[in-house]
């Protein structure tokens, strides 16, 4: 039967193979250097946490068969001093990487300071705009979902409710709130903002605004989100049967209703693609900062049950993670 099949289509198979061989020969002729040299990449992560590991794993997978070899993965252990020392050591070595992947804010900021002529890709940096991670040799993947995407989901979640509350430290997340202000007008939401400068002001600010809001939007603000404040915020919101909308699945686990966040593995894959682009085009040193390709929606069904929100429509979304 196979022989019969080959006999009948031998001409077609031959033609296809011929074209494939011609194409491959063309490629090998046009870009001999790609195949000639293997690109060396160094990964520097701020600390050893699962999210960073997922991203690195994605990157590694993305680099496979792409003529990219990952020479070393450095861990800064979350210590600025140690991080500086490690990076200084990397710099002092005779080996010079073709590209550096910085995972996390500490790694990104230190690498940016020390390497000015090596292309750098950073990822997993929360609120990257705060740290001025821009430069001719810097490419990045934002860890925040765009405000438009977030509010599109929020609109679906709120239905008729329009009052969105946010508590923020203007020195840290003022940029996010001002950007949201512009978006929110288009979507006809009422924005109720409370500025705080310390953790102790968070609970009074929330109590002050709790009767005026339909949902609390929690942005990644280190003044607002602490272990203590998070517990207090969750309790107050649950007591008033109000949902928390955020960008961290960890907060959903801690009691928030829903979060929209990047898929960390896909972030790594996205970084690998960008690395490939940069390495294949030596004249291009930066691709700018891009949004994550793939998002995941994390829902807390227990919270939804307590505050009486129907999540049926969300459950049909792709890439939904339900907790618990």
């Amino acid at each position: 039967m196979i022989e019969k099949y080959l006999h009948q289509h031998s001409l077609k198979i031959f033609t296809v193979f011929w074209f494939i061989l011609a194409f491959l020969s063309q490629i090998s002729f046009l870009s001999p250097q790609i195949f000639a040299k293997e690109n060396k990449v160094v990964i520097i992560q701020s600390q050893q946490i699962a999210a960073y590991s997922e991203a690195i794993k994605g990157f590694e997978e993305g680099c496979k068969g792409k003529n990219i070899s990952i020479n070393a993965i450095y861990n800064l252990n979350g210590d600025a001093d140690e991080g500086k020392r490690i990076i200084q050591n990397i710099k002092d070595n005779e080996f010079e990487p073709d590209l550096i992947l910085a995972v996390g804010v500490l790694a990104a900021t230190l690498v940016k300071e020390q390497f000015t002529d090596v292309p750098i890709i950073f990822c997993m940096v929360i609120n990257h705009k705060r740290f001025n991670l821009q430069g001719a040799n810097i490419t990045g993947i934002s860890s925040e979902v765009s405000v438009e995407d977030q509010f599109a989901i929020l609109k679906e979640l709120l239905g008729a409710r329009k009052n969105v509350g946010v508590i923020y430290d203007p020195t840290k997340t003022g940029n996010i709130v001002s950007e949201a202000g512009r978006v929110i007008k288009k979507l006809e939401f009422n924005f109720i903002k409370k500025e705080v400068t310390s953790e102790s002001e968070v609970t009074p600010a929330l109590k002050n605004m709790i009767d005026k809001i339909d949902v609390l939007w929690m942005i990644p603000d280190s003044t607002v989100i602490t272990k203590t404040s998070l517990n207090a915020i969750s309790k107050i919101l649950l007591k008033h049967h109000l949902p928390i909308f955020c960008t961290s699945d960890a907060l959903v686990k801690a009691g928030a209703l829903v979060s929209v966040s990047p898929d960390y593995t896909h972030t790594g894959l996205q970084a690998a693609r960008m690395a490939q682009t940069l390495l294949n085009n030596p004249s291009t040193t930066s691709l700018g900062i891009t949004q994550p390709d793939k998002l995941k929606l994390t829902l807390n069904t227990q919270t939804a049950e307590i505050i009486g929100v129907n999540l049926a429509s969300f459950q049909s979304h792709p890439d939904v993670v339900l907790y618990p």
């Binding site: 600390q47 960890a250 907060l251």
Partner: protein, 530 residues
């Protein structure tokens, strides 16, 4: 007591002093707090620097004191003003370094060692006082293992990895004590260089401003007071020349209006007073005239009364004289015949006795005739027949007709160039005889009789003065009345006749007498105009 300006200066001065003191106090407290805050910052910086030093962490981790020298020297180098009193670095096992500054004499065991703090917050103990009386600001801070970069910790929290605040291992403690002696010096310097000069400037400046302000404020009032004084003295033309728009200006305006009204009222009063004075003068003049008229009336009345009296007396004297003179003449004639015939017929023993009786009858008859003649003379006093006469001759004639006793001294003073007077010489002589006789009668025991003739304006005055018993005031007005006499044998007609004669000569007769010292009668006769 005190002037308004003094009171204002005193009040404002006290107020400014209080404000100055309060400002200085506020500044002092503020400066002290600032200095304490800077000391606190210094202490916090130094202790933090030491606690975060990797060498210190290493030394504490492995209990190696040798690594501590360099960090301590680094901290000491930063302590420019030598404010560090002591320092102590210890781990859980032992106190590794414990020293105090060389200039400080304290026992380190007095400083409590920090143990077991689970918080990394800096503890600041104010005014830790040792037994030697030294005061310190104590700073203690735990030395912890290397911390995770805060943003990474936050990322880990958001990404669901580890708790927000991981408990960190405390390796040991760093303790630094700062002495406030430099702080006190600085505060003293601030007090001396800033606060005291500032206070003095505030007080002096304030008092100077108050001085000028009160001068400005009080000078219009003083000006008004001086003007008021002038006005009180009667100078109503003064006005206050202040044109400000404040209350003083309003007061001066009102004051000027009041002065104007006062002046109008004063002028009106003066006008009325002038009229009153004129009326009073008129009344006074009228009164004087009335008094004069009254006196004239009284005189006329007296003259009238006297004339009436004289007329009555004259009439009576005339009747009595006529009726008595003829019988008295017949008696006298009869006596003459009796006397003649008795000389021839009577017995010689009885002749003497008879003659004596006849003489008595004759003498008394003569006297009665004289009285009757006087009465007739009084009643018949006729209009004088005047002719220019030398008064001197009248005086001499009068004196010659009188017998002046030896015990009476006579003085006659007649001015040389006396003019002649138009008088009836007999009548004037009668007057002078009456007056001289009265003077002689007043001096029974002797004395001085002075006759003085002189010219007084248009009159010729003859004064007859005696040193007798004088005339009492009670009878001075009556002595010129007819029939008034103080003599036991007098008729009381002499002075009345004299006064009558002088009046007829348009002259006057005046009396001056003091009882017991004598009397003085002055006869004034008009001098004939030639």
């Amino acid at each position: 007591m005190f002037s308004l300006r003094t009171k204002l200066i005193l009040f404002m001065g006290i107020l400014i002093i209080i404000i100055g003191i309060l400002i200085c106090l506020f500044f002092l407290i503020h400066s002290k707090r600032q200095q304490e805050e800077s000391l606190r910052k210094l202490g916090t910086s130094l202790v933090t620097l030491l606690a975060q030093d990797n060498e210190v962490k290493h030394a504490l981790n492995y209990t190696q004191s040798a690594f501590l020298d360099a960090p301590i020297k680094k901290v000491q180098a930063l302590d420019m003003e030598e404010e560090i009193g002591y320092w102590r670095i210890s781990n859980s096992k032992t106190v590794m370094v414990e020293e105090n500054a060389s200039w400080l004499n304290i026992q380190m065991k007095e400083i409590p060692t920090r143990h077991g703090y689970q918080s990394s917050d800096i503890q600041l103990t104010h005014r830790m006082i040792t037994s030697s009386g030294e005061t310190f600001y104590d700073f203690s801070i735990p030395v912890v293992e290397k911390q995770t970069f805060s943003e990474e910790a936050f990322a880990a929290q958001l990404l669901g990895e580890i708790p927000a605040k991981a408990e960190q291992k405390i390796l040991g403690f760093v303790q630094i004590g700062l002495s406030p002696h430099k702080l006190n010096e600085r505060i003293h310097r601030i007090i001396l260089r800033s606060i005291i000069p500032m206070g003095v400037c505030i007080v002096c400046g304030g008092i100077c401003i108050t001085f000028f302000f009160t001068k400005y404020f009080v000078s219009p009032i003083r000006h008004m007071a001086s003007i008021t004084l002038d006005i009180a003295k009667g100078n109503l033309t003064r006005t206050v020349d202040i044109h400000s728009r404040d209350e003083i200006g309003q007061l001066s305006l009102s004051f000027n209006q009041m002065t104007k009204a006062l002046k109008a009222s004063y002028d009106e009063k003066e006008k009325i007073m002038a009229q009153l004075r004129e009326n009073v003068n008129n009344l006074s003049n009228a009164n004087k005239e009335l008094v004069k008229i009254n006196e004239q009336l009284n005189e006329a009345q007296e003259r009238l009364v006297r004339s009436e009296k004289l007329a009555i007396v004259g009439k009576l004297a005339s009747g009595v004289g006529h009726e008595l003179r003829n019988p008295l003449g017949a008696i006298r004639n009869a006596l003459f015949i009796i006397k003649k015939k008795s000389g021839n017929t009577c017995i010689s023993n009885d002749v003497q006795k008879f003659n004596k009786l006849v003489e008595i009858v004759e003498k008394e008859t003569d006297r009665s005739i004289k009285i009757v003649n006087d009465l007739l003379g009084f009643s018949r006093t006729a209009k004088p027949t005047v002719s220019p006469t030398n008064i001197c001759s009248i005086i001499e004639s009068s004196l010659s007709r009188l017998k002046i006793p030896d015990k009476i001294n006579k003085v006659v003073q007649v001015e040389d160039t006396l003019p002649l007077v138009a008088v009836d010489a007999n009548q004037i002589e009668q007057v002078l005889i009456n007056l001289i006789q009265n003077a002689l009668d007043a001096m029974p025991k002797g004395g001085w009789l002075t006759i003085h003739a002189r010219r007084e304006n248009n009159f010729l005055a003859v004064t007859i003065t005696d040193t007798g018993c004088g005339i009492p005031d009670t009878i001075k007005n009556k002595i010129f009345d007819p029939l008034f006499t103080t003599k036991p044998k007098g008729m009381g007609l002499g002075l009345a006749i004299s006064s009558n004669i002088i009046q007829r000569h348009e002259g006057s007769i005046d009396l001056k007498s003091t009882e017991g010292e004598g009397a003085s009668f002055t006869v004034k006769l008009p001098i004939t105009k030639t």
